[in-house]
Symmetry: C2
DNA sequence: CTGAAAGCGCTTACAG
DNA sequence: CTGAAAGCGCTTACAG
């Protein structure tokens, strides 16, 4: 029993009904549906009218069976932790991608591959051709899934630069290094000289590149690098708190902190407060992301804005190009300093 | 050109390849694929072995073309605001539904109908049979989309009780009224008698029923109802802050606050702090949801836990039953008081 | 229990 | 520019 029959729905009109209604062949209807090439204006008109009258909607399954395309895209999240779901950036990204795809009338399939079993199941599903391409989101890049899919010939765009040499995986990312440079220069301009940093995990581009930008600017400014001022975090709030406590312990006179994510910065604020430091008077704090977390703190965070709207729309644009046969591409988008109260 | 040819993928094996490999007809392979009824153990075995050897995966488009089912489900978000995306509960729900469906090997299509144009496009897409059913999530229930889809015969499960009379729309919800009762009883047990409340919007079940529970318990306890103690909020943080300020203004000696969401409670905490009230000493504060927001505050929020994991798994269960031809159902799940520092 | 055959709704060379 | 026809990969009565 088809679903159309359940619930009292009538059998929907097919291309055959439209053809009869328009007085043309089914081939002609199909041509109108697929761009209207080699169709006379009169036929075009008649078919469009018949489509309107019948309420015809193409049956995607029949079309996909022939074209071999599914006209859908997967949004693949590979994250063992629940952390990513708590990350406000994720929401913006998912929403942005859904809407950018909707503009092309392409549905987004959400896939979560947290465990190895799920990764296998999803790999099979994807390589069987059930989606035309994949938007890949994972915090720890160098993800084996990315290479597996790429090797299987699946069009793929990662969010953030995949770590690993010349992997020929397309990606869209904010300019992490540049963002870090803006922030550290800002802290220097405030007269701070004992600037600590809490990095992201060093197997992520955000971890490596933001630390790189920090080092570069200090070196340019002639400020001696002090490794005791560097703590490696994990992008979690609790991690940020622990790192800040450690830094204060090692370098009690630090006067600024560049934290590689707003969520960690929030944890750092807690640690600073507990240690009796005023922000920004004693310690200026800069975050990264400009996530909702940045305005939820007291004081509100000075941070680096990542252009999530553009990141998602660019991911979709590059993926559709890839599906259309174009070559892989990398897109780096500029960041921006957002000044609030914390620095 | 099929996608399999792009990127150097070989044409995937079909049921025909499996049949040849197993030495049976395609009909027999299909029977094995669809439950193995009327198939001899020997044939069963041979087919399974052939499937393994060939790496066969069913072509869903061909199957759907015949069965009229898509074997996929839509997760439909109707929300004009971005607010819902910022709501941590949404994440948990989306994640839970994705995983519950994955266990049945059913992909989830994310659909966002923020504008009227999007609603029309998505309605067409859904009623054309591209998904077998819909998980509907909207904060303001009484959503016209729900009725439109129901009238079109689309299997549908709402998150939260749809407002409106006997709409015969299946839903899964936490027991809002009962949750509110727990909280207000708890505040009474603390010795508080001037208990204010900040409600959700009164066109939402969470708004109406949590207020109902509040009133019931106070009436049972013989505490006179004072309408000045009731403020209508909007589930936003800023709204919570404004409402709390208003209540303090109207009833300066209030000694407790039952707030219908953690996010609003967070705003209320800010207002209380600014007014110089200590929490919980001067004013005990109870939230609702047990969202991540509840532990992000200082002091951490005493709140009512909504069982999001079960809500999502029940939504999926009910939807699959509906698709299977069962009658609509309503599922109400129990809530639980979570005691922390704020009350 | 099993095979041969029809058919799901569409697209796409192929003739004209 | 247009129609008739083949065929995409599967499922499902229908005979046996």
């Amino acid at each position: 029993m088809t679903m159309q029959q359940t619930g009292g729905r009538r059998r929907p009109p097919t291309i055959h009904d439209v053809a009869r209604e328009a007085g043309v062949s089914r081939g002609t209807v199909s041509r109108v549906l697929n761009g209207g090439h080699y169709v006379s204006p009169a036929a075009q008109e008649a078919v469009n009218a018949a489509i309107r009258r019948t309420g015809y909607v193409v049956n995607r399954h029949a079309r996909s069976l022939i074209t071999g395309r599914s006209d859908s895209v997967g949004f693949l999240l590979t994250e063992p932790q629940e952390r990513f779901f708590e990350d406000p950036n994720f929401n913006v990204l998912l929403r942005g991608c859904t809407q950018a795809l909707a503009a092309h009338d392409i549905p987004l399939l959400l896939m979560i591959a947290g465990t190895e079993a799920e990764r296998r199941r999803i790999t099979r599903y994807i390589t069987a051709g059930h989606v035309d391409g994949v938007l890949l989101v994972s915090s720890h890049s160098g993800d084996p899934l990315a290479e597996r899919l790429r090797d299987a010939g699946v069009p793929l765009v990662a969010c953030g630069k995949p770590i690993g040499q010349a992997s020929r995986i397309s990606y869209v990312a904010a300019d992490d290094r540049d963002g870090a440079r803006y922030m550290v220069r800002h802290l220097l301009s405030l007269g701070r000289r004992r600037i600590g940093t809490i990095t992201g995990p060093l197997d992520t581009p955000g971890g490596v590149d933001r630390l790189g930008g920090y080092r570069e600017v200090l070196a340019e400014a002639g400020v001696a690098l002090d490794e005791r001022l560097v703590a490696t975090g994990d992008y979690s709030r609790a991690g940020g708190e622990a790192c800040a406590a450690r830094l204060l312990d090692r370098v009690p006179d630090l006067d600024a902190l560049f934290v590689a994510s707003d969520l960690m910065a929030r944890g750092a604020l807690t640690a600073l407060q507990r240690a009796g430091r005023r922000v920004p008077e004693d310690v200026a704090v800069g975050g990264f992301d400009d996530s909702p977390a940045a305005t939820a703190t007291e004081p509100a965070l000075t941070t680096i804005r990542q252009p999530w709207d553009r990141i998602s729309s660019e991911m979709v644009r590059v993926l559709l190009a890839l599906i259309g046969g174009e070559d892989p591409a990398a897109v780096i988008l500029p960041t921006e300093l957002v000044r609030r109260a914390s620095a």
